[in-house]
């Protein structure tokens, strides 16, 4: 079982995200995360999917998604050749907590404190998913009131020509 990152460039139509999700449910593809956003081209949206499976599954995901009328392009991004990032917001309970130690760990990981309000502290970290996992592990001594992850977005390195 591997984790694979796929980027799908789709027509920016109402319901296209529902259609991609519906396809994945229909085919039984196991999605870990899915994000969608606008791009440099107002007619195109960019969907990034992290999925778990084997090579046969990934091959089917790529082929079945490519068949959708609204799919302009689909490709996988290898972690070694691409940039895959995720955003984390985590709210710590600072009452009776060693806030100094917490702030040091936050600092060590390159995360940022973005809010301190009534006994809570919210840290933000933008990094590879594995680093986010490590950060959450490194702060396990501290009570986490809320965790929110954005799901991965990905980009290949260097100049890439997308033929759309």
């Amino acid at each position: 079982m591997k984790k694979q990152c796929m980027v799908i460039l789709v027509e920016n139509n109402a319901g296209v995200l529902a259609r991609v999700s519906s396809l994945f449910m229909q085919r039984g593809f196991n999605i870990d995360s899915l994000t969608v956003s606008s791009t440099e081209n107002p007619k195109i949206s960019r969907i990034t999917i992290m999925a778990t499976g084997d090579q046969k599954t990934f091959s089917q995901i790529l082929k079945q998604t490519a068949k959708l009328v609204e799919t302009k392009m689909i490709f996988s991004v290898e972690p070694s050749f691409g940039l895959i990032r995720e955003l984390l917001l985590v709210k710590f309970n600072t009452e009776q907590a060693d806030v100094t130690a917490l702030k040091k760990t936050i600092d060590d990981f390159g995360a940022h404190v973005i809010d301190v309000t009534s006994g809570c502290l919210v840290a933000e970290l933008s990094a590879a998913s594995s680093l986010i996992d490590d950060f959450l592990d490194a702060t396990k001594a501290f009570e986490k009131m809320e965790i929110c992850r954005s799901g991965a977005i990905a980009m290949e390195q260097g100049r890439v020509v997308y033929d759309i």
Binding site: A18, A66, L68, V69
Partner: protein
């Protein structure tokens, strides 16, 4: 010219070469029906008893002609009644455009009267679907819908049109008639390598499906089989693509296919799968199917390659184009030894016994086949009778066996037969059904009567749900749960009550006589044939099994 959405819709249909649509009116489509009324001299609308019947009729129309079928339904329950018909078309790659009305745009999403999010509901069972929110987009959206439905691997497309869009006006710019089918003219794959493999093979075998029929590639397939001397077996979806009796035609493959065909598939050293998808009714055990062979998979849909079975070689492309490419490198061959081996297996093929006094399924099918003639179109519902029809009809034409293979929809047959007959008024249409399936959509008899559509419905009545009962007999210790309804429906009286004609037969002689009369009828006919409930569909390979697990009794 300035037209309203409904008039634009009808004009685009005419542009696309549509002369017949099936449907059922309702509130959300009143404007559309008003336009159909205005254009009724140029486009014919067939109103059915139920939207499901209309969808199946559009399907039968499409399968028997190759044209895209069109069905129109109103919003809410009208649209949801299309779902089974759309899913049936989706599973068998039938080109269809389903047009549904919806509530006006300001009412969308407010749980309005007869509102349903049909685009969401049909997402997994359509090639694509559209919701048209502005009348300016309507014409091009419809054109896109037709293009998508008929291009590449065909399938159903739904276009949902809110009522206000059907009333709003805009400038209509006509477009010229499109190409009937858009097919890729290039192929992806190493054709020469595959030809070399075939040329070197000792026991080559072709397993082909609906893709050969959809591509119109019977001649190209025949050319390959004759040149390279390769035996071939077909799926339900390709019955008739090769003619009954051709030397290289081994018959039906799969769960209820010929034992000898399944043996050949099992022993082959090269299996060439053409226009088919290794469905679980054929490749019952995906790790053992064709396990002695190098597998070559030829299909227009890249998503099918390596989906169910890992292929050693593959070519993605239109079957006709691929076969023409392949033939450039195929050398003439002689596989007499292989054919002799296959003849040996044919000695063990299942042959049911005839009977003079009672009706046996294979004889009913055979008699109907003879009476209807070689040009006839045969339509089935689902169950034992469907398998008997597939096995015992002498299929000779590619688009003349209409059956719900992928979805297995009971109730498909009557609507589909009506659609096929309306599309082919000069060709006999025989609809095989059973007491189970006919009770699902028998209401369409009123449609056949209203439009005087002389479909001959042959009802194989064993008073039980035959296929379910057969499995319960085989695998559930004869615990016949809800499979013996033993309905007392008097089919002759029902047929007459609707305005049709009915016959009841218990002997082969009676059935022959009834078929003779039915062939001359100008309206729909029902012929009830009383069959023994212990009749089984044989041979049978159970799910997960191989040819070695074949059951003969």
């Amino acid at each position: 010219m300035i037209l309203n959405g409904s008039e634009i819709l009808v004009n685009v249909l005419l542009e696309q070469g549509v002369d017949t649509v099936f449907g059922y009116p309702g509130g959300a489509v009143l404007n559309i029906y008003d336009a159909l009324y205005k254009y009724s001299d140029r486009i014919r609308h067939i109103m059915t008893a139920h939207e499901q019947g209309a969808a199946h009729a559009a399907d039968g129309y499409a399968r028997s002609t190759g044209k895209t079928g069109v069905v129109i339904a109103t919003s809410g329950p009208g649209a949801t009644n299309l779902v089974t018909g759309i899913a049936t078309a989706y599973m068998d790659s039938v080109p269809m455009v389903a047009i549904t009305g919806n509530v006006s745009t300001p009412l969308i999403g407010c749980d309005s009267f007869q509102e349903v999010y049909i685009a969401g509901i049909t997402m997994p069972i359509t090639k694509h679907n559209f919701v048209v929110r502005k009348v300016e987009d309507l014409a091009d959206t419809l054109r896109d819908a037709f293009r998508i439905a008929a291009s590449g691997r065909p399938g159903p497309v739904l276009v949902d049109i809110p009522k206000d869009v059907t009333a709003n006006q805009t400038t209509y710019i006509p477009a010229s008639a499109p190409e009937p089918r858009i097919l890729p003219q290039t192929v992806q794959g190493n054709v020469q390598e595959i030809a070399d493999l075939i040329n070197r093979s000792e026991r080559p075998f072709v397993y082909f499906g609906g893709g050969v029929r959809l591509s119109g590639a019977s001649e190209e397939l025949r050319h390959l089989l004759l040149t390279a001397d390769i035996p071939a077996a077909y799926t339900l979806m390709a019955a008739g693509a090769l003619s009954y009796g051709e030397k290289h035609n081994l018959g039906l493959i799969g769960m209820h296919g010929c034992y000898s065909a399944n043996c050949a598939a099992n022993r082959a050293d090269v299996m060439i799968a053409i226009g088919t998808r290794f469905s679980d009714r054929v490749a019952l055990n995906t790790s053992k199917f064709g396990h002695n062979a190098k597998i070559v998979h030829i299909d227009i849909d890249s998503g099918e390659i390596n989906k169910n079975i890992i292929a050693d070689y593959s070519i993605v492309g239109d079957v006709k184009v691929v076969l023409n490419e392949l033939m450039k490198f195929i050398k003439p061959a002689d596989h007499s030894a292989w054919f002799t081996q296959i003849e040996g297996w044919k000695q063990d093929d299942y042959r049911p016994e005839d009977c003079e006094t009672a009706l046996k399924p294979h004889q009913v099918i055979g008699t109907a086949c003879s009476a209807a003639g070689e040009d006839a179109i045969f339509v089935t519902d689902v169950g034992q009778h469907q398998m008997w029809a597939a096995q015992f009809l002498r299929h000779v034409k590619p688009n003349n066996f209409l059956t719900s293979g992928g979805l297995g929809t009971m109730g498909y047959g009557y609507g589909a037969a009506i659609g096929a007959k309306i599309a082919n008024p000069d060709v006999p249409v025989v609809h095989f059904t059973s007491d189970g399936s006919l009770h699902m959509n028998m209401n369409e008899l009123c449609t056949a009567v209203s439009y005087q559509v002389p479909v001959i419905t042959v009802i194989l009545n064993n008073a039980v749900l035959g296929m379910v009962r057969q499995w319960q007999g085989q695998f559930y210790g004869r615990r016949f749960a809800s499979s013996e309804p033993e309905r007392v429906t008097d089919y002759v009286k029902v047929a007459e009550a609707f305005g049709g004609t009915g016959y009841r037969c218990t002997t082969p002689a009676e059935f022959k006589e009834a078929m003779k009369k039915a062939m001359k009828a100008t309206g729909p006919v029902w012929i009830e044939c009383v069959i023994d409930r212990e009749e089984k569909v044989l041979p049978m390979i159970p799910s997960g099994g191989t040819v070695h697990d074949t059951v003969f009794n």
